[in-house]
Amino acid sequence: MVAAVVAEGLVRRYGTVHALSGLDLVVPAGTVCAVLGPNGAGKTTAIRVLATLTVPDAGRAAVLGHDVVRAPGLVRRSIGLAGQHAAVDDDLTGRENLRILGRMHHLGRRGAARRADELLERFDLADAADRLVKTWSGGMRRRLDLVASVVVAPPVLFLDEPTTGLDPRSRTAIWATVRDLVARGTTVLLTTQYLEEADRLADDVVVVDGGRAVATGSPDALKAAIGIRVEVVVEAGADLPAAASVLASWTDASPEVDEDGLRVGAVVVGSPVPLPEVVRRLDAAGVTALDVGVRRPTLDDVFLRLTGDPRTTGGRAA
């Protein structure tokens, strides 16, 4: 297994703030790694260090074996970067944006024009290609930004929160684009606040908090470790204790009871939860349940599990 991206003990301080405090991560070639974490976890700083935009205070990082500090030129020849903002020119058309980048990649006028047409066609942006980008939707701009980072198809691609703030349809489109690139052998390191995004795209997930990795593993392993959340809504407050004791048999923590919402919830780790069995037991206990369901764990759940530290993630975790 060849590592395309390696980071060891990366530290980066901004004044007294530790944006990175000893981040380790390894991305095998040809895989997708998702760096998952809330705002301020150090995700963007990590990408900036790996893309040679920021120099780390300590630790080392390498892309395809090239050290990001000692051989930044070689690193830049190996990477594409799509940042958090769509770094495309609003005052140019989509086609012009790609042509300029092609010329900067030394494809020549003709070569750049041909490559722009090809990319616009392939990623379904041809219809809007000759309109100024400022008239494009947010999702399309972000997609153009993504395409702009692969004008020369770099072997390693860094995507910093590629779908933050996008509607579900645009998000799906971005995911399709990323999958297309991965199918062609690109190694992708992406950051995200969405567990679902990591789940859909990544072979490996690195959960970061406070500038370091707090957990690493496949999405399945991570989900198994986090568990899923079972929720029961009852008709009458008097049924809450009985419902809680039913859920308690699947979890070692005591279920949370929300008296105002007439709701009992519990995080179940390990085995899948047999919903019919839950319903049967509630019935047997004489509980009238209005709703019984399982819910995907949120990033909050991830942090609760991994760090024992409940925290807000801006309410955007999917």
């Binding site: 830049r76 770094a87 030394h106 100024l132 198809a153 072997p155």
Partner: protein, 270 residues
């Protein structure tokens, strides 16, 4: 590793290619913004009208010179000193991640600001020529000859190139388009603190010293001299006694200071 159709990644640096692509980017944007061009061109015309006819009707020059003929070279200089467009453009690129994108690419990093400065200079030269045409309409004349007039144009273009570097550096430092736009109002007083609109002789001594040593004053005086337009009293200040030389020195100084500052700021990792 990459798809068979994908072009290869550039193997060796080609600063000229990178710079000309950066220049093409600036010029392409201008082409899409006719309203912006119109405003850039309209503002000196408005200045000529406001100062030439409104203030000019009440301002009497020492000696017998015509105020509008005195004013026009100063307006040329003001336009050449306009650091605002380069500042706002660079602040926007910096704030929106365009600078980061370029910096993550295998390009000659310093070639990008050079390309942008060249494009700005080309555009600025065009603006100066159009403004000269407008000035002729309101009565400004070149009273020397083609050679000195071309010299004046060269001085203005060189100074404008230097001013672009100041603007780019400020834009990189500011890093946000909104802030840059707010700060741009501060540029106007720099123009007032000079001999552009009125002779400096009547100012209080301390203010007069500042105004006489303002690079804008030297440039203005140089253009007046080269075009044979009415001159303001020099008050014995060296830059105004030798305006052409002073302008060349100012231009060289600004370039020596701001080209390295801007390119280093552009290229270095943060």
């Amino acid at each position: 590793m990459s798809a068979p159709t994908a072009p290869a990644i550039a193997a060796r640096p080609r600063p000229w290619t990178d710079g000309s692509a950066a220049a093409a980017r600036v010029l392409l944007k201008l082409r899409h913004d006719p309203a912006g061009i119109a405003i850039t061109l309209a503002s000196p015309v408005v200045l000529v009208l406001v100062f030439g006819y409104v203030f000019g009707s009440a301002i009497a020059l020492p000696g017998a010179g015509d105020y509008r003929e005195f004013l026009v070279p100063g307006l040329f200089a003001t336009i050449a000193f306009n650091v605002v467009p380069a500042m706002i453009t660079m602040a926007r690129d910096s704030g929106r991640g365009v600078v980061d994108r370029f910096r993550s690419m295998p390009i000659t990093r310093v070639a990008v600001p050079f390309g942008q400065a060249a494009a700005n200079a080309a555009y600025g030269l065009l603006c100066l020529l159009l403004m000269a045409a407008c000035a002729v309409v309101v009565g400004w004349r070149i009273r020397t000859g083609l050679g000195p007039a071309l010299g004046a144009l060269g001085l203005l273009a060189a100074f404008q190139f230097a001013a672009t570097w100041i603007g780019m550096y400020l834009g990189l430092v500011i890093g946000r388009e909104e802030t840059a736009a707010q700060l741009s109002v501060l540029v106007f007083p720099v123009g007032m603190l000079s001999n552009v609109f009125v002779p400096t002789a009547g100012m209080p001594a301390w203010l007069r010293t500042i105004a006489d040593w303002n690079p804008l004053s030297a440039l203005t005086a140089a253009v007046r001299e080269l075009c044979g337009n009415p001159l303001a009293p020099t008050n014995g200040a060296w830059p105004l006694e030798h305006p052409v030389l002073a302008t060349l020195l100012w231009t060289a100084l600004l370039l020596v200071v701001f080209v390295p500052l801007a390119t280093v700021r552009y290229a270095r990792p943060r």
